[in-house]
Structure formats: structure tokens, C-alpha cells
Amino acid sequence: MGGNYRYIGKAMKRRDAESIVTGSAQYLDDITFPNILVGKVKRSPHAHAVITRIDKSRALALPGVKAVLTWEDIPDYRGGTPRNVRVLDRKVRCVGDAVALVAASTDEIAEEAVALIDVEYEILPAVFDIDSALAPGAPLVYEEFGSNVIPGGTIIYGPNCLKGVVRGDVTKGFDEADVITEGTFGYENIPNALPPESVGAIAVWEEPDKVTVYGTSQAPYMDKVTLFHVFNRQVEVRSIGTQVGGGFGTKFTCWQVESYAILLSRATGRPVKVMITKEEHMATFVLRVSSRMHARVGMKKDGTLTAIQGTWYVDTGYYSFTTQAQVAIGSGELMIMAQCPNWDLKNIVVATNRNASGATRGFGGQELKCSFIPLLCLAMEKADLDPFDVLKKNFVKPGGGYYWRDGEWYDFRGVDFSKAMDRGAEVFGWKEKWKGWLKPSSVRGTKRRGIGVGVHGNADIGEDASEAYVQLGYNGTATIFLCVAEHGTGQKSNYIKMAAEVLQIPPERISMSPADSLVTPFEFGPVGSRGTYAIGSAVINAAEDAKRQLLEMAAGKLNEDPSNLDTEDGVVFVKGKPERSLKWRAMGNDRTILGYGRFEPDFTMCNCMMSFVEVEVDTETGKVDLVRVVNATDVGQIIDPPGLEGQLNGCFGAAGIDSAIFEETILDRRTGHIVNANLIDYKWRTFSELPVIDNVVLETPFPSHRFHAVGVGEISTSPGPSAVLMAVSNAVGAWLHDYPATPNKILKALGNVESVAQEGV
């Protein structure tokens, strides 16, 4: 497709391509300043403790140490949701919680100083999982949150933030059901999205109350907003985004590291860089939320859902920044995939003494679905239904709807994704391979293959506000002012492409401002799936506004009505009479045409991804090989084919499909230490183990912006994990409900299979 457009839908060289392949792209750690200091964090070895004494004198005496800060040195600065987490506190709440900050002239001196800070702790009992946190009399992570339940709702989603789903009459729904299943299912292996670049910030303090922060954030403007509140609305923050070495949602939560850099820069009067190590990244930065669901589901024989009732327990670790938001979005996302008239779904956000969970692509919905679909599988097995048919049937369609994050009901006005799902099933060969529940699709010696399917959709394609300016240059050029840091999706280049299409000038003639909150208007940032529709709309609207002003300017000079004019390649002309024209130059070099574009949130549409997976299980070793993946989606209009393909191939990385096969963060639940916080023990898929991936992408125009596109990259990780459990269960002939399906679990399940088989014979 893309035939009607000059640039949209055609592969275009990424704007940052040369700088990436030559090593000149500037990521945060590549930036330095004269006189810059290194900041390091002293971290707690205890999961829960009160600091009874800190002696920083030995650290301060070390030559090269410029500042040591503890909770005693700084005002009551707080972040989190609710805003109750002190930047430095007297109490530590997880292994790795910040105890003190050091600024020094080199890494090594800073590290030595960290070791020289003497801290005495009064160790407190700790809670490491949902059960112990909710048990009566459990130690409290926060005195103010009794029972370790963090209050629901988040201020940015408004007063009626979705806290659960109540709709219809579940009693009636269960009465109407032909099959009912009930159980507890979890996705509690807290995988780490783990971008290759760690998290960091450089702060440059300016007396008396200003600071410039360069960060690894994927949403730099929002950091300005967040930090403004953290510093009690007393500090003016200028936030500058850099090239980001992967985010996957996690780099929305950079406020703590940024706060450390700011405090140290203020204390020393010098620029300070805090770049946490990979071990710190893995042991102290955000993980996926830990999700567990106890629920009942009712279904008719034909796969129609009649009732969903239960409680979703979410373990957010030692604090929440976005967890209530993830609960709201996740609940709405479950409604999108499970159109059902009767609901009673509650949720509880629980605090425990491990490092925090936070925003990660899939944003609540992946985690909830990974818990819900195994329950649904039992119902589908009972009713002897093909899961593809049931998932397709129950996904939202025109005429359907859902509650979304603000607690309001939205009638869905997007496209019917059934066609994409059918096409995906066809490419995968689903109907030929599906042999029924707990039946392998093929057996060859010790190798058993099984298939599974999952689905996910997210209405956050149109979430939150975006703003952009587009300035026209008299020599036929344009500049986009937008606070977006390129974090890997290629969206910055796509915005250039969109503006080029509106203005009909080659993309090479369009520049983009740095992501600098001092220069650009507001931007929520490319988080969730909002990059294409929400941010794209702001850029398109700004370009259209600029074009309107240009044509109005030219109309006077050409003595024509602006509606009779158009522009191409830096020339304004009368439609049908191209000889009557005016170069953009006519605006003069002493005039600025500046278009402004804004996107207002729109929750009436969602994206969709259905993933089909085939696994091969070795019954001798218990190893699961991911053999094949087919991702099926409809994006309305492809903006950039290779970029989209890359995003969809991302399905197994970033705490996606592989979180069902081998990826997990292993928490020692006696001490609170994460035992695999390094890249040798935390396994990643390598080049030698790539599955075959086919991406089926349809282009049914959406009523979104002028290019009818919606974003989808975010959710490519989301349908896969539950599909893998389904596939592995089918391959081995027994249910596996525990993520990830590691060899020991497989062999255990296989033992059951063999004994059952023997009894059967």
C-alpha cells in the first residue's frame, strides 16, 4: 500500500541512521561537560530497615569527593503515586534502595567513597510476595498504607480513574453460562524489559532555582512535570532528551536517577552525571508488575462470554509510580479482548520489599492477560472450543465498547480486526495444526510440537495530549519543534515523513528540534502505543496549520482565494493553473510562519495484535524451542515498512514471549536480593536461536488522523507469553500455568503425563 502517498508507507532512511552506524549518535553517557563530576548511589543491603546512624566523615575526607548527601541533608522531596516516596529516606524498603549520594571527580573515587560511608541499620521484618504482604499483622512497607495496600487511582487519569470493572449482573451471567471455570493464575516472574543502555542523567544546576537535566528518558517533557512536583514546585526544570538506548516503557520512570543528579549538582555547583551500572539497572530499576488473578469465568458453548468475576492482585514492589495507571489500562485492555456483558473485577495494588515494578510495554494489560488467558483456556477446554475462534469472537468490534482509564464507557469506532486474525491463522496454518486441547500438533521421537494463540489490544493509541510546532523556512524548508527523544521506534523520522507529506516537500528539507522542554511545546512522550496517532496528529495538525498560514499569505499576493491554492516542493500554485505560482521565498526572510498542532485524547479506538506460536519441546531435556511466530495486526496505514517490521519482530525481546520460556528476575524471597542481576545470569535470546517470524499487517483505514494509521509497536510483546504456555501445555499434554516454562517445570509436567498415560493403558 502507500501508493496514494509520496512518502507515507515507503521505506525511508532513518534520520539518525548515519550517526548510529558511525558511532556518533549521542546517548546520555556519551555527553560530557567541563568540570563534570560522577555521581554514585550508596544502596541498602537490607530489604527493610531503619537507618539509625550515618557517618559520612571518612567518605568526605577522601580526596576528590565533592559531596555526600543523606536523608538528613535534603528537604522532604517526594515522588511516586501517591507522592509518598522520599528521594532519600530514613527508612529503606528494598535491597538497593538509595541510602546516600556521592559526587566525586572519578568513578573510582566515587565508588570508594560509597564504601566509606558507614551506615547502621535497625533491620525490620520484610514482605516479599502478595500473600505475606496481605497477611494480617504483616510488616508495613509504609506506615501510612495499612495492610500494604497502595491506594487506587492516579491523579492524571482524573477523579474517576478506573479501579475495577463493574458492569451488568455477574450472577445472571454465571446462570447463563454453559461452562464455568475458576482458579488462581499468575505472571509473577517479574521479567525485566532491560534496555541495553542503563538509566542515567546529567544535571547542571543554575543558582538560585533552575536546573537543566539531560536524561535517558523516553518522555523528557513529562520529567520536567514530574520533577517540578518532586522538588515541591520550587525548582524550574529544563529537561533535554538524548538518543535513548532502548526504553520499552521503563524509561518513563527516570525521576529518581534524575533527582540524584540534581541534588548532587546543587550541592557541588558543578555538572553531575549519574549513570547506573547494569547491575544497578537490573537490581534497582523497574521490573514488570507481578500479577496474580483469582477469578471465575462463565462461557456459553459457542464461546460467548457471560461473566467475569474476580480480583487482580498486583505486586508493585516497594513503591508505585505508574502501577495504578497500569491497573486502569490493564482492566480496560481485558475488556477489549473479552467482550462480556457482566463483570465484577476488582484489583488490589500491593507493596512489597523488592525493587519497584513500573511501566513496561504491555502496560498492565500484558500482565493481566498472562494471568487471565490460562483461566480462559480451562473454560475453552471444557467447552471443547478452538481458542483462535474464541479469542477472535470476543475481541472488540464495531458496536462493542469498553471502560477506559477515566472510568468512562467508550463505544468502539475502530476497524474489525477479524480479517487480520483470519489472515494470520491462514499464514500460520492454525486450522491444520490445531488437534485439540492438550494434544501436540506433531510428535517426532522425543520432540513434541504444540501451538498456542494470544491476543492483545490497547486503546492508549490515542491517550494523553501532544503538541508540536512546525515552522516554515522561506527557502522551502521546515522545522518541527517536538519534545520526542528517539528511543528506537524510528518515530522521529516518521514525524518528519508525516510533515513532508502534508507540506509536500522532501523529508531531507525538514529538521527537528532537540527534545528540549525549553524550546518545544508540551509532549507526553512516545509511551504506550500513542506515537503514531497521538503524537503524529500533533505534528500533522501543526504542519497543516503552517500550510494554511502559508496559503493565506500567498493568496493576497496571487489575488486568489486560499482554497484555490496548494503547495508542492516549496512552491505555492493555483490549483489547475500551475503556471500561476509563488515560491515560498515570497514570504521573505524576515517572517516566521509557525504552525501549532495539538492532539486531544481519544479513547474510542484501539490497536490489536494476535500472535500465533509454535514450540518444540524436547521431552528428554525439557527444553522449549520457539520455532515459529506469526503476528497478525491491522494498522490502518503503514508509515514505515522496515521500522514496523522491526517493532513487530520485537515480540520476543523486552520481557515479551521469552518471559514465558526462560526470562525471569529471580528474587531470593528470604533476603530480598535479586540473584540474577547481571547479563550473564539473566538470559537473552541470541542470534543462534531465532524463531521464524512472519508478520501479517493489514491496512484497513482507521478514522484516526489524515493518514488513517494507528501505532502498534508497543504491544508486540503482549499476546505471546500466554500463547507459549498454551502451546507448551498442548505439546506435553498437561497444563503448565507457571511462567517461564523452564526445563524443570516441563520435566515435572511430563512425569505426570507419563504416569497418567500408563494408568490409561
Binding site: 553517557d29 573510582e108 534496555p195 543502555e197 547494569k278 523486552a654 550473564i680 542470534f687
Partner: protein, 183 residues
Amino acid sequence: MTATKARKAQAKTPQSESVRLVVNGETFDLNIGERRGEIEPFHTLSHTLRETLGLTGTKISCDHGACGACTVIMDGKAVLSCKILTVECDGKTITTIEGLRNRETGKLDPLQQAFIDHTAFQCGFCTPGMIVTARALLDKNPQPSEDEVKEALSGNFCRCVSHYHVIRAVMSVAKPEEVSDGR
């Protein structure tokens, strides 16, 4: 900084006091010491490249020898610069991502161009390590099979999952007749 372009190969200072590196065709004599611009015995090669020589194209991700982001070519072999001490590199010839361009024409290495043409990156953080590793492979084995490419790159981690595009890009240089342009 004591780095110098002068090629005083014969006047080599004693090993204990300085280290001579040839990086991307330039010779650097680096004193061992504690002052700015000098190298300390615990400095890794990746640290020296980035912090002392300003060659920040070499990335540090795990800093632990696990991820391949810091890969450089040393005397013809792809090595992990985070696992090598600079003091051990006296007399070594090193090529980093910044040194892959043709020095006379300024033209990109065919692999760099292929990575652009195939959009063989997303966030790009692992890309320098990928390209350098692939360069070392092609220097030794100009026409590797796809499996040999995968094997060579199996120590380079990518989290966005650009693997498929990377293979296409590398194969387009290795065996141009077998690879379509991927569009």
C-alpha cells in the same frame, strides 16, 4: 592528554611508563598515571577509548563481557574492550566503529551502508558492536554462510530485536547476489 599523532616507532618509551596504541590509524602514547589523560592500571580498554580518547562510539552496556556492545577489532580479532585492561594493550592495533570509514574517501564501510539500507537497528545502542563484530568476521571470511554470521554475532545482544534485519544487512555485503534489498 599525551596522545600524539607522531609515529615515533623506534623511540618507544619503556612499557612500565606508557602504552602505545594505534587506534583507527592514529598512534597514541599514553602515560600510565593518575592525572587526567593518563591511564591507570585498572582502566579497561573501553574506558580508555571512551573517556581518554573520546571515542564514544564504543558502547558500554553490561561492562561484564556478556553483551558485545563494547566490541572492537584488536589485531584483526573482535574483542570485548570492557574485559581488557589498557595497560595490556601496548603495541596493539585497534579499530573502533569510528575507524571503519574509508580513511581516504570518507566513504562508509559497506557494512555501515548496509545497516542503513536495511534499517538494521532500532535503538542503535548495540549497533556499533554488531557492525564491528561483523566486520571482523568478513575480514576473515568474506563470504560466510548465514549460520556463520549468526554464530559470529551470537555474543552481541540486541533487545529491540533487529536480528533479522542485521542478518539481511550482513548477508547483503557477504553475498549480495543472494539477498534482496529487504524492502
